[in-house]
């Protein structure tokens, strides 16, 4: 699930979609938000371009929802500026902004039918009845709910409500669609299915999406770019692949997927090559960072980038003993204890069904771990 877009062979999705890089649609300039003494959003800068599906990813209380609410106009920035299509939004109330929001619990109007819910936004624009009903029909077709016009929200399942909420927000053709945990209220199976639906819909309508989520898998699957947030700041911004394969620091490496984090010391930093020594040996990285020799940093090694086997080979890096096993069916997670009592996490695909008990790796087995040093990640903090 590292990057479904490439693994499903449809990386055309990211390539063909014309994301114009010359003029950002949304510009966030030094925006902060304080609630009393608490700084929810701390001096954030960001550009989002037309056609992007951008994810704000972070744990609860990291400021992602506050930032989204500032984009919608429900909160005013304490300082800084938000521009949409080069227009300053500071004094623009929510009902005049070219944005629409899909709320966390959908916020469908319970006293109105599906049809009336969707019509609500169009009526505010003073559109003619015939036009409104045409728009409702076509948006309901897009979310495949044509037969549910007359139902009230209470008569819909979670998945259907989610689609009504999406339709209601999209029907106004906003420049920017804001989605607050769009899949958070769905169960796991439905969530996976809906992720792809959401991407397809975004692709069809071409509206720029800004999604807030705490679910890293959701962010990885959905987005063209991700901003990882912590304590009101952006820690790292980039494509899902960049964030996963080249996390900047321990927080990102640990938050997106999982990683073995090794303490390291810089041995040398010459001509853009940094050499780091750890208890798993020396690693070298290409980097133009100016870290001086002798300083401490970390090296990350993802569990799935380590292979595990009973038989030793030339590529073996280290031997250990299996301390614990987590069996997930498609993969297994091993905790391997090294001679120095350090534990290394390893994830292995269960490509073949074990023939018998002996064929299967089990507790206290002596195993050989190997990896490609180029898979290691340099973590600055």
């Amino acid at each position: 699930m590292v990057n479904v877009k490439t693994s499903s062979g449809s990386d055309a999705l990211t390539d063909t979609k014309e994301i114009s890089k010359d003029k950002p649609l949304l510009e966030i300039r030094g925006v902060s938000k304080k609630f009393g003494d608490f700084i929810a959003v701390n001096n954030v800068d960001l550009d989002i371009y037309q056609g992007e599906l951008f994810c704000l990813l972070g744990g609860s209380g990291c400021g992602k929802t506050t930032l989204l609410r500032m984009l919608a106009g429900f909160e005013k920035p304490s300082s800084g500026q938000i521009l949409i299509d080069s227009q300053d939004m500071s004094e623009v109330p929510p009902y005049k902004r070219p944005t629409n929001m899909m709320f966390q619990n959908y916020a469908l109007f319970p006293h109105m039918t599906v049809e009336k819910n969707i019509a609500f936004g169009l009526e505010q624009d003073g559109l003619a009845k015939a036009e409104i009903s045409d728009k409702i029909d076509s948006i309901l077709k897009l979310v495949e709910l044509q037969d549910y016009k007359k139902r009230r929200p209470q008569q819909l399942s979670g998945g259907q409500r989610q689609r009504v909420a999406l339709a209601r927000a999209l029907v106004k053709q906003p420049k920017l669609l804001l989605l607050d945990e769009p899949l958070g209220a769905l169960d796991k199976k439905l969530r996976e299915q809906t992720q792809f639906e959401l991407m397809n819909i975004q692709d069809k309508v071409g509206v720029t999406f800004v999604v807030v989520t705490h679910d890293q898998e959701e962010a990885m699957t959905l987005s063209t770019r991700i901003a990882v947030m912590d304590r009101g700041r952006f820690i790292q911004t980039g494509t899902p692949t960049e964030i996963y394969e080249y996390p900047r620091d321990r927080f990102v490496a640990d938050f997106i997927g999982s990683a073995n984090i090794l303490d390291g010391k810089v041995v040398s930093n010459l001509e853009g090559i940094i050499k780091v020594s750890t208890y798993l040996g020396k690693f070298s990285f290409k980097s133009n960072s100016n870290i001086s020799k002798g300083s401490n940093l970390y090296v990350g090694l993802r569990p799935e980038k380590i292979s595990i086997s009973r038989t030793s080979s030339k590529s073996t890096n280290i031997t250990g003993y299996i301390d614990d096993i987590g069996y997930f069916g498609n993969t297994s997670r091993y905790k391997v204890r090294l001679d120095n009592d350090q534990i290394i996490d390893v994830t292995a695909q269960n490509q073949k069904r074990p023939k018998d008990e002996k064929d299967r790796l089990t507790y206290e087995d002596k195993v050989q771990l190997s990896w490609d040093n180029s898979s290691a990640m340099l973590l600055l903090k």
Partner: protein, 280 residues
Amino acid sequence: MHNERSGFLTLMLTVGLAFLYIPMVLLVIYSFNYSKLVPVWGGWSTRWYKVLFESPEVWEAVRLSLQIAFINATFATMLGALAGLAMVRFGKFRGRTLFGGMLVAPLVMPEVITGLSLLIFFISLKELIGWPLERGFTTITIAHITFSLAYVAVIVQARLTGMGVSLEEAAADLGAKPFKVMSSITLPRLAPGLLSGWLLAFCLSLDDLVIASFVTGPGSTTLPILIFSRIRLGLRPDINALATIIIIFVAILVAIAAYIMLRQQRRELIDQQMAARGDV
């Protein structure tokens, strides 16, 4: 499942219900007593109902009480709703805590004190601006509104807090201006709260004896005042008849409310079943 009712629970239920309802049953039975002396049984009769229907001052009192209750409920609901909205939706304004405290003060204030202070207020107002000339209908209504609106405000506050702001934000986000948000989202969602607030204010007013006694004047006798003043001169069988009519009236209202609630529950169940069929 524990199907057999335990003997102790049945006993407690019987005792509890008896405690609550025997007095009322007695009252109903005695309203059909022929005898002029309430405690003496003189055989079955509808004599006192006839007396009751032929006494105009009782019907005058009923009319006055209903009129006051209706106007009181309507004004208290409007003012209470505004106060509740200010408390929950206006954010932090100067004096909010004080306002909130003063708003609920009538709930905990002893009725005699409320009544007395209102009486003094009306007297000094008359001295100052010459109004109200006479105490009666107007002063009772004003007095009732002052304490009923506190109850409405509490109900509205609870309902608004429970509703949350996301529906209103969603409406604003879809382009609705503040007034439109209020009229198409907040008020319809608030309607059940306003209705129960109105009914509560109505009942409080019908029920009130103490405050009305303070601020009433000659010629304005509400139903509770009438009943109480008659009882003071000794138990009277026609009052029993009046009380029986009131009990039947209330019982019918409760039955209607129960029926509406039952229908609502059934509808919710059907909604849930429809919803459950959705995710396939």
